[in-house]
Subunit: 425 residues, 2 copies
């Protein structure tokens, strides 16, 4: 039971007063820290500096008959397709490598459906004139995903997120509606909960029978090799179950393997779906930056090399996530006023306070100099009806900064809870 609700009014008032004093002192310390996004730290980025040594003015730029320095190969260099094929467990012919941003490629897929239409279906821009189309959003989830489907006019429909993945009973029921055109998924180390989809959930996704033939699963495998521990749970390969069906567009990038925003990115899909979206990307650009693709393929030539590289990155990230767990457990565990996730990879911890607490905690933090992701951002439309969820992104700060940030965070959480308990009396 909520510790503050067990106190007498006097004891609670005294506790709140002590927390207010501590908070006032914290404000004076003028912390200035941004933990709002999943950004790599300097220390982490430095691990990828070797990438910058791969190419020089004397390098061979033609690889496997393909010239990285000239137009052509809109599907990406074969060596880069091969690399992502290994990461995602598909044949390289099912991979398009393009640009530095997987989010941009998700935009491209939605734009393709909206402007051109999926596989000859009527474009969503036309279908939506008759009635609003819908997109499924497991929540809490990734705000930039939700912003994309919202941008294209979809009604974002929240689906409950469980420890094993989205509520599949709900998903299977919702896709019976032909106005439902897709769903966002982050199958491994989901943003922000860090959970990994169970094999059963992956199988049920692969077996979906949506009413709309232009329904697609957008499978953002952003953290496919981003574990903190060797024995962290793996996610099943959805392509093994889905066969040749045109159902899944999968995405990955090296933004959190090499340089953030300056990596390489890919789409993997069935052959027909890949050819279909390339009609649109072929209009959109002549080809992508293959110099960066070549440097990446030389630096990280195969899965083994990537996994070795990711172990080094895990050494930087693991202590930060351990510290989050340690501080939250020690400071909040006994008070029974919050829950949080215990990810074994990825970039986030999902925190849930009491009902109606999240906005107030985030504001208290902000006023004391700690910027968190806006409360509600993990829900479609930025609206968390219960106002409980906060996304904690511990990757960017140093351990020392993170420690101060967490001290402030737990202080604000306690203060909010004490204030709320007093108000409720």
């Amino acid at each position: 039971m909520n510790y503050y609700k067990t106190l007498s009014k006097e004891a609670l008032a005294a506790e709140k007063s002590a927390l207010e004093s501590a908070y006032a002192a914290a404000c004076l310390a003028k912390l200035n820290l941004d933990m709002s996004r999943g950004k790599p730290s300097e220390e982490q980025l430095d691990l990828s500096r070797g990438l910058l040594d791969e190419l020089s003015s004397t390098s061979e730029l033609v690889i496997d008959g393909q010239n990285a320095g000239n137009y052509g190969c809109p599907e990406g260099l074969r060596v880069a397709r091969q690399l992502f094929g290994e990461l995602l467990g598909v044949n390289k012919d099912q991979v398009l490598v393009s640009g530095s941003s997987s989010l941009n490629l998700m935009f491209d897929v939605l734009s393709h459906g909206f402007v051109r239409g999926m596989q000859g279906e009527s474009p969503w821009s036309k279908q939506s004139q008759a009635h609003r189309l819908r997109w499924l959003c497991p929540a809490p989830g990734y705000d930039r995903h939700f912003a994309l489907s919202d941008y294209f006019g979809f009604e974002n429909v929240a689906v409950t997120m469980r420890d094993t993945g989205p509520d599949m009973d709900a998903v299977e029921d919702l896709v019976k509606d032909p106005s439902v055109k897709g769903i966002w998924c982050v199958p491994r180390f989901s943003n922000p909960t860090g959970i990994v989809y169970s094999d059963e959930v992956v199988k049920r996704f692969a077996a979906l029978k949506p009413a709309a033939s232009d329904f697609r699963i957008l499978w953002d495998n952003a953290y496919c090799v981003h574990a903190f521990y060797d024995n962290a749970p793996q996610v099943a390969n959805i392509f093994e179950y889905v066969g040749t069906k045109d159902l899944v567009y999968s995405f990955a990038s090296t933004s959190k393997i090499t340089f953030a925003g300056a990596g390489i990115a890919c789409i993997a899909a069935s052959k027909h779906d890949l050819a279909d979206v390339m009609v649109s990307t072929g209009i959109e650009r002549v080809c992508s930056d293959k110099i960066s693709q070549l440097a990446h393929a030389l630096y990280l030539p195969d899965r083994t090399r990537i996994e070795a590289h990711m172990k080094q990155i895990a050494e930087v990230l693991r202590p930060k996530f351990s510290l989050v767990e340690e501080v939250l457990s020690r400071e909040l565990g006994p008070l029974d006023i919050a829950q949080w996730t215990h990810p074994q990879g990825g970039y986030f911890v999902s925190f849930d306070g009491e009902r109606g607490s999240a906005k107030e905690i985030v504001k208290l933090c902000k006023d004391a100099g700690l910027q968190l992701t806006n409360a509600g951002a993990t829900w479609p439309g930025g609206f968390d009806a219960a106002d409980t969820n906060i996304r904690i992104a511990p990757s960017y700060p140093s351990l020392e900064e993170l420690s101060r940030a967490l001290d402030l965070f737990v202080l604000c959480t306690k203060l909010q809870a004490a204030r709320a308990a007093l108000r409720a009396l």
Copy 2:
């Protein structure tokens, strides 16, 4: 007058027979050359290899307070914005640097108008439900431009291209129609004619009073510093005339300055238009590859350095364009069966044969192993009503290959003309 039409039937038949024999011999030589696109040659690309030495594992990646290796700066690094600002004659605050492809940024602007709507206007996807929207296409022009506006459902309307730019009387008249939403322009060394817009044309563009408030000029300054000669004509700076009006989206890239498809690209626009399109690009991607932006800004820090670099490139390109002029003049000039342009920069020569000749010439070349841009590609919908225009792209082949290609091209042109003259008898 067409030489072949001056001949007697017997003389013409003999001439044609000789050309057929020469063509049969040329086919046996099994040329295998692709001159269909404006691709840089290996020799030209080698001039930019220094770019690959700019960054190494020990480089400072933070410049001017901005970290090229991490998320952030969706508007691009300040140093890269400054560089394009100098090239395009605008303040760096009016520049968005993003990705490697200016075509992709043109797509982004059209996509913004289509999905979101320009500056709060109704999205084109909605407006087009009531009646088809139109886009102006000076022709001959760039096939990838026409493909973009076609993709978004516009009716592409051809506008006559003159030596000084598009027929402005026609443009001024057409923009009185509120269903006309934009126009494609390549103001310097236009693709494919190589002409440079006159000051008067630029001023008339800046002074346009389109009926549609969401009409925009897409000003693709692809060849802004791509002259073969020091005294080649400059194009006036449209932003000097347009003032603060929201009328022009301008584009440039380094694809033909450094590596093709692996350079950096920009949009320049009024402050309001730039902020407006960034609502959409901000949904589309977190940020662009700033490692590439940093390398470019270090390699080509200012306009002076770029111009020196472009002089080296001109040394490679100039002899190729001179050879085109020399061979066409020598072989076709006396026959009076074709006209062509004499560009002082850019990547193309625009060739016009007799009415109804282009498709046949291109097919003859293709059958003998020389791939040219498809006849008609320089017109909206790929339809050149007069069937005269062929785009010659001499940048990629070596001088020796180009010489053989031109020999074949003039042979095919003569053969087509002789055949046509005989058919007409």
